[in-house]
Symmetry: C3
Subunit: 425 residues, 3 copies
């Protein structure tokens, strides 16, 4: 049997080459693979030009070819070789230009001379190429032929959503982003973990509902909130941004803005259960969609538990962030286990409430001796104790622990009272 | 002059022989004696068949004769000798049966071979006898003639209520139960203490209202709540279940479910005042009508201060729980003193509020010098201090202590302001 | 350039001789001088006979002449020499009386034999003179001719109000009293400090509104509340009674009734900033209009920061409380500096709130790089951090300190967001 880690790694390998960006064909192809894995995944679109709060949804970008021919006739920065070579959302361009003009359009990282950087310019029209600094330094004077065959269309941004209904409308919300091209930890790890968690959650009926959104970062979360903020405020019990969850290094934790939401609390409990001592960042270190979800106007209970945090590992946002080198089977498995444990915690955080005034009559249910004689109560006393404290303000986990009951016996008993309409949660 | 303890003991002796149960003639006769003591006591009835939350009010049970004739012709388990001999709510039965069949209907306590146990079966039809274990062991094979002349009627459960109105609608609620046959601590002590407290409270006009209910346990408190829960939630400041208040042993305290209600707080203060260090039980040790009053759906501030707690003294629920052996004049007196002290505490827990904006003009009331000259304020400064903090959020006890005023002077002064409409509490 | 202290001292010298009382010509002349200094000051009147809560606004009192001719023909207690010689609100009287009759109308301070005491009788008709105890002891038997030419008119009490509107309706409230005749610390210091603060506050546009009321003590604050209590409750963020603010001795602090209002908090912060360790009195030591403003029915956040507290310095309420001897340029300046520092504190206690859901798009404002490449965020990260926490619950002072931003840069940035409708405070 393959482990979840192996399944995630294989899925990541499959979608690695697709040219994801804020929008376009690479995103659509990525989502169609995910839909094969999750048949109930709904594929959706945000229309270009849509105003979302202070922002506007940009147009769709597609690119078929991009490269540079050097004075010596070499083809460099070929998009088909590595989709990081082109600045995301580059305008079409075709022309022959001098090295000095070309250099204004080239991006490299002097500190990481072997790495191709990841560069985008979504909201300001330009074009550009990215390459490793060593190659850049070798460029000689002369005429460079530049080709970028890209185009823009007012179709919008693709995204996808999977809602797994539970008994409760209250939901656990997972957000991940599908706008990054071929980089592994940031960001193939998030989408494949989300996919694997969704599969696991569909196997059983859980109490809470679970929602997964696969969106482009920033504009995607903004547009999603523009459509759903009121339901999100009502329903989201805890939310997590799934990003950078694929390497084996330390666990990292970026709190919600408030720092004490249920999402944060569940993360803490899970750290304790799994004996994980994560690197604890602060709100000032945030950097992904919790920026939007936790913004003062949204104020949602969303935080993020990662492995190596974006911006904090050397391969971040470069061609060095690859499967194998950064993301591993074990790294992905660790994140999967973390979130499944967290789900276990939230599922036992119910607050059952006896709907009845007074005690239920257990005698007529065969749960209490009809004959009252000294010393005859002991067997049911613990069950009586349990229901005597279920006032909707104490969580089931604590109530069961307090009364020392067998968990399964307690849950079966409560299920029966619920079925009879005497209990709610 | 007879003490309250003596009066209570005599009343207990008078109603001892009556065959109390959940319902029936013995209850009615008990209540009519109490009404003689408390002329304003209102006699009431819960109708049989009435649905109360998860329960149904049972039918009335009466019994005229019950006994067993042994093979040797002896009459044993004679109801007229001790009303504990018959299982409460026994069906009528008449017949001659073998010892082995009879034994299925006999109840005894092997651990307390001299005691007749107290057994009931309100909600499941059966018949049975109770006897001391030594006698049971002596029964020989042969034919036993069994007679139980009982009957059921759809008339309902008798109960009684006494409301003593105070200045405030807020009330102190006392609940006791009149469903136990001839046993002294559990439960003649509660009804006779309730009666004595009610007498004392009728002698003076108190600030709070006081209510006493004399009901059958469990079904009585449920049925009472079914009729009154909304007023109870509005009006009950503190409530106490009066039970097992007649012996001289330790004081016992069973908290409310929450544990920090005004009822609990007053009990603590009274323990401190009287230097009593009670056995402190927990909510898990509850066992009387606080089970209903404090149930999550009712959530009333009710606790219980007893002497020896039900279930915790050897004579409990047996023929050994008698006047003299368990319940004493001194034991009853101790409970009376406890609750009267508690009443003293609650009566000084008022939260007066100056209704006026600004200070009252004390000068025109002759309470402040009209001539303003340096050093002329000292006499009234303390009174001014007192009223300057009466904002409805500080209790009078504390306000008077803080300002160092003479209590009587302060109360007279406040009474005057209240009369003039400047103060409320 | 004259200091504020010097300006206040000169103003105090100018209005020193005017015969202030609860009402009358001296009050009107005082207020007209203040109006010359503060052209927007509004002169107002409370009608005599007006019921205000438990009180009634008294009639106006004026006096033209008052003196005593001794048996030896000397003129003593001449009102024109010192307006403290006559008991405030003395009835007119003219007659020749014996020393023993006269003595019932004379007031002196045996413990301060050189001081003329300050005596009033607003709410009970009488007449009287005040003189130093040494002079009183020298009076010999014989006929005394007494003249008091006073009169009462149903015109009412004069007062004045200055409102300086800010961006917010929330206001800082200053109350001072103009009912005391020629005494310096108590009470010329309050009105001249109020005047100077009002001048300073009119020089700049501040965020909060500021209100100054110049009223007679007690009845003035009561009458003012009778008209304005609802607006006061809505609008007053912090209030201060300005009294006894002119000497150089210790600072004194009388808390509000609650003790933890914003007014108290600002006073504490200002003490800390200025390294002042005041004499800390309690609510039981109150004595001026906070008695009314903080009364349970009004419950306004008002406290008082003084120099030497009324009643606590030897010259209090006597002819010894003079300019120069008690009140100094430096003393007044210290109080001015205290309250201006306090105003600085409150002005940075804003609670800005991002009105937007999600982050604002800083890129389109040229405040965020449009080209996204690793390491390109640092300059704007602090601004992003600042707005990411402006949820209306954190004060600007704290937010700026936390993010380590330059205050001016931060304020300019917030002003821009506010202008664009993205921020409110």
């Amino acid at each position: 049997m393959t482990t979840e880690g192996e399944q995630m790694f294989r899925l990541a390998e499959e979608i690695w080459p697709l040219n994801r960006s804020l929008s376009g064909e690479g995103v659509r192809r990525t989502l169609s693979v995910l839909k094969r894995e999750l048949p109930f995944l709904e594929l959706k679109k945000f229309a270009s030009g849509l105003k979302v709060f202070d922002w506007t949804v940009p147009v769709e970008w597609n690119i078929s070819e991009a490269y540079i021919i050097t004075p010596s006739g070499d083809k460099i920065c070929d998009f088909t070789e590595n989709n990081l070579h082109v600045v995301g959302y580059s305008e079409p361009f075709s022309g022959t230009i001098s090295l000095s003009v070309l250099q204004e359009h080239l991006h490299s990282l002097p500190d990481q001379p072997n790495a191709i950087p990841y560069v985008t310019s979504y909201y300001s029209k330009c074009w550009g190429f990215c390459l490793d600094h060593e190659s850049l330094l070798k460029l000689t004077e002369g005429d460079y032929r530049v080709v970028i065959k890209s185009n823009f269309a007012s179709t919008g941004l693709d995204w996808a959503e999977l809602f797994i209904p539970g008994e409760s409308k209250k939901e656990i919300f997972f957000s991940t982003y599908i706008c990054h091209p071929s980089m592994a930890n940031n960001e193939l790890s998030g989408p494949v973990l989300a996919t694997q968690l969704a599969k696991a959650l569909q196997e059983t009926q859980f109490f809470y509902s679970y929602r997964f959104v696969f969106i482009p970062e920033t504009i995607g979360s903004l547009a999603y909130m523009a459509e759903n903020i009121s339901e999100m405020k009502s329903n989201i019990l805890a939310g997590y941004v799934l990003t950078c969850v694929g390497d084996e290094r330390e666990y990292s934790y970026v709190p919600s803005r408030g720092g004490f939401t249920i999402a944060d609390d569940l993360a803490q409990k899970t750290f304790e259960t799994l004996h994980i001592d994560p690197i604890r960042y602060t709100w000032a270190d945030r950097g992904s969609d919790e920026r939007q979800y936790c913004s003062p106007g949204a104020d949602l209970p969303v935080c993020s538990v990662m492995r190596s945090k974006y911006g904090e590992y050397p391969e971040y946002h470069t061609s060095l962030d690859t499967l194998g080198r950064v993301v591993t089977v074990e790294g992905l498995q660790g994140s999967f286990d973390f979130y499944m444990t967290l789900i276990g915690h939230v599922e036992s955080q119910r607050f059952p409430k006896l709907k009845l005034i007074g005690e239920p009559q257990l005698g007529k249910r065969g749960l209490y001796p009809n004959l009252s004689i000294k010393g005859n109560y002991s067997d049911t006393h613990d069950l009586m104790n349990l229901i005597s404290i279920l006032d909707g303000k104490i969580d089931l986990e604590h109530a069961i622990t307090t009364t020392g009951l067998d968990r399964i016996q307690a849950l079966k008993f409560l299920a029966r009272l619920k079925e009879e309409g005497l209990l709610e949660y």
